[in-house]
């Protein structure tokens, strides 16, 4: 069975909700839809207090090239445009909507029929994806239309679908595959058409045998160009570079774009959202989110509308346990710890993980014993212990020489350190500084070259 070549760790899977069916989460009386739901520039609100909206009405437009549309997930009246705290506690603008009924935009096809024929052409698909506010659903929330428009020098060869779900606890992708295999395959085919390629792979880790079987059967029945690739269990297989390496055996060059390998990677949730956008004209207004944790009464997979309070989802899964020590948006390896549960559902939220008190605290760090376990674990072939020391001592030249800029912040180093050293914390201090120096150096070199060119004229 395939996997990526360097490093990796094996955190306990704890997929508590992998047998839980998808439950439609209740729509509350008031939702708050944040305007910063994608990587890049936040969206700009285009509605005002008192405006009537339906499900699917655009309420935010892109605030730049790397940005997205946001649509109303409910029908009702705009209550106010205010700020809310996102999962990390940062204040972001949001549109509050008082819910009245559940009236959808007429353009949206709400029938249960699966639409197989892809009528739109390449550019129409990309435009539709943009208009429907699709972003990367794995958690990175990269605006999908930008990813579907690679630089003209790129030579796309295949689409790779990330259905790895290597983060412990999370099961949203898994439950999606079990519920909508055919729609996913059509979504993949739409992505192929948008990229002008005729080959696709769906990478699934071996701990989801039912999903592998179902997807293989579905693909064989009508989508022969889609190959299901079972992958050997190893974190961080869902990292874009690691997934490409595992599936087609190529390396994304350091500092380069993944498309340099000819592969376009999209999350399986994105493929489904693309299907709904292109075939059903449905904007991204809801997603599957896993609410889980060892003390959570009913670990669940909810289909939740954007803007639903996180608190409501936790209540629906049995409430916040008394022994709660930490609440994480996303998985335990790369997710973000929330300062409180007052934030709202967004496009990139694949899971809410509630950790117990005793799980929530780090053990005290002791001196590094140079065991090299972080070096063995690093999927990028770095030496985290040195990177951490260089960051701590502000030795940025040394950090650059040790390629701190290649770090994908997967956390495998901190996870495996027997001395409990906060390696990634330190690396996160040094990495942006080195990146800043690199950018400055590139800008200076460009300015110099331009000046030389101007002088030559």
């Amino acid at each position: 069975m395939k996997t990526f070549k360097l490093g990796g760790v094996h955190p306990a899977a704890n997929k508590l909700s992998d047998k839980a069916p998808i439950v439609v989460a209740e729509v509350p009386a008031l939702v708050a839809i944040p305007m910063a739901q994608n990587l890049g520039a936040p969206s700009k609100a285009i509605v005002a207090k008192g405006d009537k909206v339906k499900v699917g009405t655009p309420i935010g437009e892109p605030g730049g090239f790397l940005s997205s549309f946001v649509h109303s997930s409910v029908s009702g009246t705009v209550d106010k445009v205010d700020v809310v705290e996102d999962a990390t506690g940062k204040k972001v603008p949001a549109v509050f909507i008082k819910v009245e009924g559940d009236e959808w935009e007429e353009s949206i096809d709400r029938s249960k029929d699966i639409v197989k024929e892809i009528k739109l052409e390449k550019q129409e698909i990309i435009d539709r994806v943009k208009a429907m506010g699709i972003v990367g659903m794995g958690g990175a929330t990269f605006p999908t239309q930008v990813k579907l428009t690679p630089p003209p020098t790129a030579k796309p060869e295949c689409v790779i679908i990330n259905a790895v779900e290597c983060e412990p606890y999370l099961t949203s992708d898994h439950s999606l595959m079990l519920a909508h295999p055919e729609e996913i395959c059509i979504g993949v085919r739409i992505l192929e058409k948008a990229m002008g390629v005729k080959k696709a792979y769906i990478g699934i880790e071996a701990n989801k045998p039912d999903a592998i079987e179902l997807m293989t059967k579905t693909a064989a029945a009508g989508y022969p160009e889609i190959e299901i690739v079972p992958l050997k269990l190893k974190y961080p297989q869902g990292g874009e570079k690691q997934l490409i390496n595992a599936v087609i055996g190529k390396d994304v060059p350091s500092g380069g774009l993944p498309i340099a390998t000819g592969a376009l990677v999209q999350n399986v949730g994105t493929a489904f959202a693309v299907y709904e956008a292109v075939q059903k004209n449905k904007p991204l207004i809801e997603r599957i989110v896993t609410v889980t944790g060892k003390s959570i009464k009913k670990p669940s997979n909810f289909l939740a509308r954007l803007g639903v309070p996180i608190q409501n989802l936790i209540e629906a899964a049995g409430g916040l346990p008394d022994d709660t020590g930490k609440v994480i948006s996303g998985g335990p390896m790369m997710g973000k710890a929330m300062p409180d549960t007052n934030s709202y559902m967004v496009k990139g939220c694949s899971g809410i993980l509630v950790m117990r008190n005793e799980e929530a605290r780090r053990k005290e760090a002791s001196p590094c014993i140079k065991c090299g376990k972080c070096v063995q674990a690093c999927p990028m072939g770095l030496q985290p212990l040195f990177l951490a020391v260089y960051s701590e001592k502000n030795m940025l030249d040394a950090a650059e020489e040790e390629r701190i800029y290649d770090c994908i912040e997967c956390g495998s180093c901190s996870f495996s350190c027997p001395a409990n050293r906060p390696l990634l914390d330190w690396i996160r201090q040094g990495k942006p500084k080195v990146m800043g120096i690199l950018r400055q150096r590139a800008a200076e070199a460009k300015a110099k070259a331009d000046a030389a060119k101007a002088a030559a004229k």
Partner: protein, 315 residues
């Protein structure tokens, strides 16, 4: 109140203490064999060595450094057992105390304690004793007991004499494998040490890189240096400190290189140096010196030998 910290939010559960405990478990087969082979002497020497090492570390942290004691990480016990494994089973207790003081006091704590030492403490202790008390350190008992036991030459010394043309019988491969020979307390049974090594590999405490490269390189150079005699080369692997060194001493986390490429280079150099010293040096035994020398090269190896990078193509 919720806890907030950066990811990752989970940990493997591994700890320094667990790593050291795994090494101790891996040392058990060889320890049991030494009890069988050398009797009460092995027990006395091992217990006193561990006691001295732990005591010295405790006293140094408590009264000299005035820092919280680090005895709990079990590394002093590992050093104690390894030091005992590297001395004859009839060594005087006071000599052992000096060795333990050198290992813990000089080689480990004066550099800053576990993680900061350049040299493997147990090895430093052994080499100090070998130079300071050469007679006591090279008089090996050939029977069980502690005081007044019969002593004799080790297989390595015999092989050395044999290669130089003396008329001696060298022990059989089976005896060397099982440990039915004279030698330092814990080094005689190759099988027991290999068993411990398999456990360490199975628990992923160590990787194969150092032991395999040491043994392969020692075999190749042994074959070259000992007259292209494969049987002698194999005996060289099974006798003396080779197995103990390759599996337990050279793999010491702190004093060995960080990445697998560096570890392979380190191992090959150790195998080569060992066979050079054994064949052409004044000592029949070369393992400890070879590891000691390569310990000194570890920072240099770390500086110049980088791991395989992801996404970097050599031009």
């Amino acid at each position: 109140m919720l806890n907030v910290s950066l990811s990752p939010h989970v940990h493997s559960g591994n700890s320094t203490r667990k790593c050291m405990a795994q090494v101790l478990v891996a040392l058990v087969p060889a320890l049991l064999w030494s009890f069988y082979q050398f009797g009460i002497g092995a027990l006395i020497v091992t217990l006193s060595s561990v006691a001295f090492c732990v005591l010295f570390e405790f006293l140094i942290t408590r009264f000299l450094l005035k820092t919280p004691t680090t005895v709990g990480d079990l590394s002093a016990i590992v050093t104690g057992v390894l030091l005992a494994f590297n001395v004859p089973s009839n060594i005087d207790i006071w000599i052992l105390a000096i060795g333990a003081l050198f290992a813990i006091g000089v080689a480990k704590m004066s550099f800053g304690g576990l993680g900061c030492n350049i040299f493997n403490p147990a090895l430093a202790g052994r080499i100090f004793l070998l130079i300071a008390y050469p007679v006591q350190m090279t008089t090996w008992p050939t029977e069980a007991g502690y005081a007044d036991v019969a002593t004799g030459a080790t297989p390595l010394a015999l092989i050395g004499q044999y290669v130089n043309g003396a008329d001696v019988t060298i022990p059989s491969i089976v005896d060397c494998l099982v440990g039915n020979t004279g030698g330092s307390l814990g080094e005689v049974s190759a099988i027991a040490l290999l068993l411990g090594g398999c456990y360490l590999l199975f628990r992923k405490t160590i990787t194969w890189h150092i032991p395999v490269s040491v043994l392969l390189s020692a075999f190749v150079f042994g074959f070259l240096f000992f007259g292209f005699d494969a049987k002698l080369a194999v005996e060289e692997l099974l006798c003396g400190g080779m197995m103990l060194g390759a599996i337990f001493m050279a793999t010491d986390y702190v004093s060995s290189p960080m990445n697998s490429r560096g570890q392979l280079l380190y191992g090959v150099c150790i195998g080569f140096l060992t066979m050079v010293i054994r064949r052409y040096g004044a000592y029949p035994e070369g393992m400890s010196f070879a590891i000691f020398i390569m310990n000194a090269f570890t920072p240099l190896i770390n500086k110049y030998v980088k791991p395989q990078r992801f996404g970097v193509v050599k031009k």
